[in-house]
Symmetry: C2
Subunit: 460 residues, 2 copies
Amino acid sequence: MQRVTPESLVDALKSHFGDRCSTALAVREQHGKDESIFDVPPPSAVVFAESTKDVAAAVQMAAKHQTPVIPFGTGSSLEGHLLAVQGGISIDVSRMNKVLSINAEDLTVTVQAGVTRKAVNEAIKNEGLFFPIDPGADASIGGMVATRASGTNAVRYGTMRENVLALEVVTASGEIIRTGTRAKKSSAGYDLTRLMVGSEGTLGVVTEITLKLYPLPEAISAAVCSFPSIEAAVRTTIQIIQIGIPIARVELIDANSIRAVNAYSKLDLNPSPMLLMEFHGSPASVKEQAELVQDIATEFGGTAFDWASTPEARTKLWTARHNAYFAAVQSRPGCRVITTDTCVPISRLADCLLETIYEADASGIPYFLVGHVGDGNFHVGYLIDPASKLEHDTAEALNHQLVKRALAMDGTCTGEHGVGLHKMGFLVEEAGTGAVQMMRNIKHALDPDNIMNPGKIFTW
Amino acid sequence: MQRVTPESLVDALKSHFGDRCSTALAVREQHGKDESIFDVPPPSAVVFAESTKDVAAAVQMAAKHQTPVIPFGTGSSLEGHLLAVQGGISIDVSRMNKVLSINAEDLTVTVQAGVTRKAVNEAIKNEGLFFPIDPGADASIGGMVATRASGTNAVRYGTMRENVLALEVVTASGEIIRTGTRAKKSSAGYDLTRLMVGSEGTLGVVTEITLKLYPLPEAISAAVCSFPSIEAAVRTTIQIIQIGIPIARVELIDANSIRAVNAYSKLDLNPSPMLLMEFHGSPASVKEQAELVQDIATEFGGTAFDWASTPEARTKLWTARHNAYFAAVQSRPGCRVITTDTCVPISRLADCLLETIYEADASGIPYFLVGHVGDGNFHVGYLIDPASKLEHDTAEALNHQLVKRALAMDGTCTGEHGVGLHKMGFLVEEAGTGAVQMMRNIKHALDPDNIMNPGKIFTW
């Protein structure tokens, strides 16, 4: 249900923010689209916030007019998170791009919400530190908080859930609160930090984030290994995890993805299922981990265990992985992507993957598959013709079947992309009506007028 | 404010639960006391639940009479969490002591809330797995969820915040919900699991818990090292953490504690500040970590680096550490303990500790100090004469000064014990009125009649 944004609100925003409030169609359209498949009218206005005070002022004005507010970072979300499904205004935080304090001794950094993950790493690299969470896009940290993002390093370093120490948040009434301190652990009251992480802008606008950092490993080595089948690659992964090797990355790429990446990045990777792995630690420990993994891989028929020990070779490898999504999109010109995001307990991963591939192959729709398999999380991207209702419906049906399968295995419908618009139904299947009602009760208590990114995660 | 428990509720509970509902004074008194310093009248009745259904039935009956419900595990909380400050009934979950499923391949276990941490480890040890979280007492897992407990292994393995995958919870209306799946990560809606962890029974009664487990390390070695001063021990710790050595435990014990432990456990440990450390990993990695740490310790004047490589020697060492609290209590017969629990960013730990010791020494009150120093968390236990108002007030004033110091250093008033009754004022100082009001709004939404452990964490 679209709500009408009152003219008087737009006037008030323009008078307060000057040319930092735009109603130009191109600007609004850019802020009304993400990587998802939905087409929704754009927001009525876009405010470019430069400070927490700006965000608070914009939210206060919107609250006065009971008008929706949608935070915008880089626009890379995949599930329709930033679409103005009920109208309202977009608050763009990309100009809030300051690294506020680096506390190298404490392994923490505090940044504004618009700083991207790559910018964080650029700012801290001279301190010998890094921030591991890496969704595919160079997303804003605020957006990564909102979707509880993870990526390729989560198998060792955890997700945004584990790596956010504290937040500054503008609430639905435009008040500014802090949700924690820089202490590494705390039992001081409800965990508002974790409540905000993954709340997709529905409980407040995140304006500042204190993150955990890690010392750059003394040694890093990366390897690729080809396998005769997806199953062999997955069985290798399961054994690596179960015996407790502290592998830093273990990513599955299927043959479809490799063909797309080869074409996109002009590489000549062997087009068979592949694990990309990375080991972090002291030189001796990295060597030991890698030897153990090589033994396991060999046992499952892994071949062509290629090492990339120089930073350049590693960057090339991981750039290929990070480009898999865009490479696949380009492999079918004009297509749109329906992406799945299930995550299951690792003992069920092989079954889940193989049944899914069987169905995907049978459907005839072009697809690619990549997986953070060390976590039991994988993505199938169905490359559909946007003009074909049949392909759209088939892909959505495959997605639903996959979600059902994952839930039956005690897994989740979304490992890292969030619910957004796309998985609202799945959330109810997964969590049950009682738990979703509890989420709704929290939403009603913290945002009684339903102005914070309304219509996402669950229905009001 | 005491509320009166209606006779009709007690009658209904007795009729439903038979002799599993007790109103005997001794039983009520045992359930109305924890390790804290408060004296409060006991609950009106105690229900011994044997299943989630029992808990739901008891909560439903209490809800009908708007009567408080207080979950009880082992009674080892330190901040008055289980005291019936507003009257009501205690739900004892200690008979809910079943390990429901061990999923060794997924490194997870699901238990009922009354299972203790030692019982978990006993149940899984033949699988080659362990559960690392170890508060001083052999607490119930439900209680550990409620207080967001941690302990000596948190520096490497995290706290209950990081190690609970999913919960089953009985809500304030007596409904049973699940807050997650066994997937290692998820972005499916609000993080109800983390909201419940640390909520101290104020949002629901935890009935089942799915925990993360870890493979038993291939090699473990433990060491003690004496230092010429607390400062030297702390500087050693800070350097260990800052260079990223994955130490599994690093505990500080002051000379007062060592003297008490020597007397209590008939040991002859050197009565000077000491670090107890443990290293987990492959044999080569453990050796490498230990050598690095020994070099750092030596640089700061550490001496008598003693190794305990056999399980028996290690158990003796850690038993001494875990007994420190009870040993100290016995060192001043008849005393009660006021325990502090601040946690600060590690760069501020030395300053925080030294100023605290200076004040404690000046006060003349006997005390001991132990610290999970790798996390920046330490406890001063003031051993006060319960008959002396002066000692009580002095100890409370020292605690308050310490909290102010920790907050000024961007730390927390409680690293792992929780807020309970004792730190309600401190929570407001730490989080600010806006954040506490947000917690309160959540409480009002999920427990509108204020029956779930009322009067804890914050005022209604």
